[in-house]
């Protein structure tokens, strides 16, 4: 086996996350799917760091984690405030901005 296995796995995980974003309506699950996509990217970064023999990939993966944490905090806060006003966590219910 080669590092290609990791990369293809990451690609498949990313795709599953993306499809999850498309098909799930619960905002929190959508958020989880986004986290999955971020994680698959992290796997790619770490794999390439190993492949090229540099540690920068790992550092960037660390940054991704930090930013993801910040994003989760803000995103969940947004979901909470939307839930408070609309009593719903479905992304389809937040559809006022349209034609």
């Amino acid at each position: 086996m080669t590092i290609t296995n990791y990369l293809v796995l990451a690609a498949i995980l990313f795709t599953i996350g993306a499809v999850g974003v498309l098909v799930r309506r619960n905002a929190i699950v959508v958020f989880m799917c986004i986290e999955l996509m971020l994680n698959s990217v992290n796997l790619t970064l770490i794999t390439f760091a190993r492949s090229t023999g540099t540690v920068e990939g790992q550092v960037i993966a660390l940054f991704v984690m930090v930013v993801a944490a910040a994003e989760v905090v803000v995103g969940l806060a947004i979901i909470m405030s939307i839930y408070r006003t609309r009593r719903s966590a479905s992304v389809d219910d937040v559809n006022l901005l349209k034609y």
Partner: protein, 634 residues
């Protein structure tokens, strides 16, 4: 043409001739009701002063070499290659016109004081009259075609305003519009001619244009000549634009006398005479002038025979007489002097006739139907005498004005030689006979026979302010021809303008011509007596008449022709254009807008508000990009 001798003395203030009436008009129009009481006197005063000044200028002119003076006043238009200097040209031709305009104008102003005494719009009337005189003077005094054009439009405006002076009467308003529109047709021709001159020669001044006629291509000269003729036809009521002039009689009678008989309508003759160097270079256009004159002469005379409205008869007579003038100017250098002489004589007797008609109307409570006149000779002696003298002058009674000047034209026409000479001469003689017929008919129906007055009409002679101008004009009618042809030959006076009058070998002896013409005139008058004078005149026009009379009553179907050839196609064209505009242009615009609006409304449906739909688009884009990358690196 302009003299190089420095201009001094009275001649240097020639511009005052125009400015005086213009100032009068401005004062009356701007002064408002404050000038109501004395406005008419001021207006008359300005024209009388202008006449005095004109006489002085003309006398001063006689002593000068070349008998011409050109004044550059100020730069009128100075843009790029177009450089028009407003300037005046006083030469024998314009001097004659200035004298006619100011002289007859002054008399008619005096007449109007009496005629319009009780009209509430008297001040306005005099203001317009002054405006007209100023514009007409500018027309004849300008030293370039542009200045002429300004005056040309000015008299058109004044004519419109004065025809519609009683604008509350629908007939007057319609007649004014008709006159204005038909003049416009001619004015477009004149404007195009001026454009053509500027485009080809770069100048519009008389000196510049006439000095370089030789540089122009033959076709261009012909085009300019024909366009100028179109302008002249419009202004002078010549075929095919003659229909407006009889209708213009809706205006007050002094207006008919001044504008539509003596001065404005002769502007076309002035234009063609002034453009003599142009026409010298284009025999084609000159022949067309000739033809227009001959045709109009007959149309006017024939239509005049059948009308019962005294002013319309006189109007058709004017059309016919101006036809004589066009015929004369169309004959070339030999005819110019004759045309101008006839123009001056006509100015006198036709103005006199119109003033007489006005006096009759004044006496008959504004009735114009000759069938309701009759037997007025005793009631209106002064009017009868002056009108009679004008009548005799018009039909060419021996030794009166018309005899001298009309015979001259007929002679010149016959002298042309060949079949065309005989034809034109014949037409002119026939026209003289018809003139005698309709004028005699008019005289008989108005002044002789049994009174056929409507109830309650008490004819009375007009006040002196009206009769005095009539008397003066009658004197002019009697003497003008003799003075202009025999005593002070006009051809000699106009020599600096038209060149040495060549003494053509007469094909037919003048004596024979005179005798023939006189006989024909006598025959015409006799026929009229047989038809009208001998028997009772019915008070209503007979309905069962020959087609010729019907045609003549309708002005030889000029209006019908205009309507079917111009108006109805114009209406159809307008309707088609409106349809095209509403359906085609608007449809395209609205259709495009609707298509855009509908399209964007449908496109806007893509914005569902569902984030997942948008995300699907993003993923689709990502697939495309990945596929493209793969395809590129493959």
């Amino acid at each position: 043409m302009p003299a190089s001798v420095p201009v001094d003395g009275l001649l240097s203030v020639t511009w005052l001739v125009i400015v005086l009436p213009l100032a009068g008009a401005a004062l009356l129009l701007l002064g408002g009701r404050r000038t109501d009481r004395w406005g008419h006197l001021l207006a008359t005063g300005t024209v009388v002063a202008a006449f005095a000044l004109a006489v002085g200028c003309t006398l001063a002119l006689t002593g000068r070499a070349g008998r011409a003076v050109s004044l550059d006043l100020f730069t009128f238009i100075d843009t790029g290659s177009l450089d028009v200097t407003a300037g005046l040209l006083l030469d024998p031709l314009s001097a004659v016109f200035v004298l006619l305009i100011t002289g007859v104008g002054a008399l008619i102003h005096v007449y109007s004081i009496g005629y319009m005494a009780h009209d509430p719009g008297r001040r306005r009337f005099f203001a317009y009259l002054n405006l007209f005189v100023a514009a007409m003077l500018l027309l004849v005094l300008g030293n370039s075609f542009v200045a002429l054009y300004v005056g040309w439009e000015g008299v058109g405006l004044a004519s419109y305003l004065l025809i519609a002076f009683w604008h509350t009467r629908p007939a007057a308003a319609t007649a004014a519009k008709k006159a204005f529109l038909m003049n416009r047709v001619g004015d477009v021709g004149l404007a195009l001619a001026i454009f053509l001159m500027f485009a080809q020669l770069g100048t519009t001044s008389y000196a510049g244009v006439f000095g370089s006629v030789g540089l122009l291509a033959g076709g261009t000269v012909t085009a300019i000549g024909l366009l100028l003729l179109l302008g002249a036809c419009g202004k002078s009521g010549q075929f095919p634009l003659q229909a407006w002039l009889p209708d213009a009689m809706e205006g007050p009678t002094p207006v008919s006398a001044l504008i539509h008989a003596a001065t404005m309508v002769t502007a076309g003759v002035y234009l063609i005479a002034r453009s003599a160097p142009l026409y010298d270079a284009t025999p084609t256009a000159r022949t067309v002038v000739l033809a227009v004159g001959a045709v109009t002469l007959l149309i006017g005379a024939i239509a005049g025979c059948a009308h019962d409205d005294i002013k319309k008869v006189l109007a058709y007579s004017t059309v016919s007489q101006i036809g004589y003038m066009f015929l004369a100017v169309g004959l070339g250098p030999v005819g110019y002097a004759a045309a101008i002489a006839h123009l001056l004589a006509h100015g006198f007797f036709k103005a006199g006739l119109f003033l007489g008609a006005g006096s009759v109307m004044h006496a008959m409570d504004d009735t114009v139907d000759m069938r309701r006149f009759g037997g007025l000779a005793r009631r209106l002696p002064i009017t009868f005498v002056t009108f009679g003298l004008g009548y005799l002058a018009l039909i060419g009674f021996p030794f009166l004005s018309g005899w001298w000047t009309k015979d001259a034209i007929i002679e010149v026409a016959l002298d042309r030689g060949g079949w065309s000479g005989w034809l034109l001469g014949g037409v002119a003689v026939l026209g003289a006979g018809l003139t005698a017929f309709y004028m005699t008919r008019l005289m008989l129906m108005t002044f002789f026979g049994q009174p056929r007055w409507e109830d309650g009409v008490h004819p009375h002679e007009a006040p002196p302010s009206m009769t005095a101008p009539m008397v003066l004009l009658a004197v002019g009618s009697v003497a003008a021809g003799f003075l202009l042809v025999a005593v002070f030959p006009l051809s000699g006076w106009l020599e600096p303008v038209f060149g040495e009058p060549e003494e053509a070998a007469h094909l037919v002896s003048p004596l024979v011509v005179s005798i023939v013409v006189t006989v024909v005139v006598a025959l015409g008058a006799l026929t009229a007596w047989l038809y009208v004078g001998r028997r009772e005149v019915p008070t209503t026009a007979p309905a069962r008449v020959s087609p010729v009379v019907t045609a003549a009553r309708r002005g030889l179907y000029a209006d019908t022709v205009n309507e079917s050839l111009v108006m109805r196609p114009g209406v159809w064209l307008t309707r088609a254009l409106v349809w095209l505009d509403a359906r085609g242009v608007d449809g395209a615009v609205n259709g495009a807008a609707a298509a855009l609006g509908g399209g964007s409304a449908r496109l806007g449906r893509v914005q569902t508000g569902f984030v997942r739909s948008y995300a699907l688009g993003i993923l689709g884009g990502a697939v495309l990009v990945a596929g493209a990358l793969l395809a590129v690196t493959a």
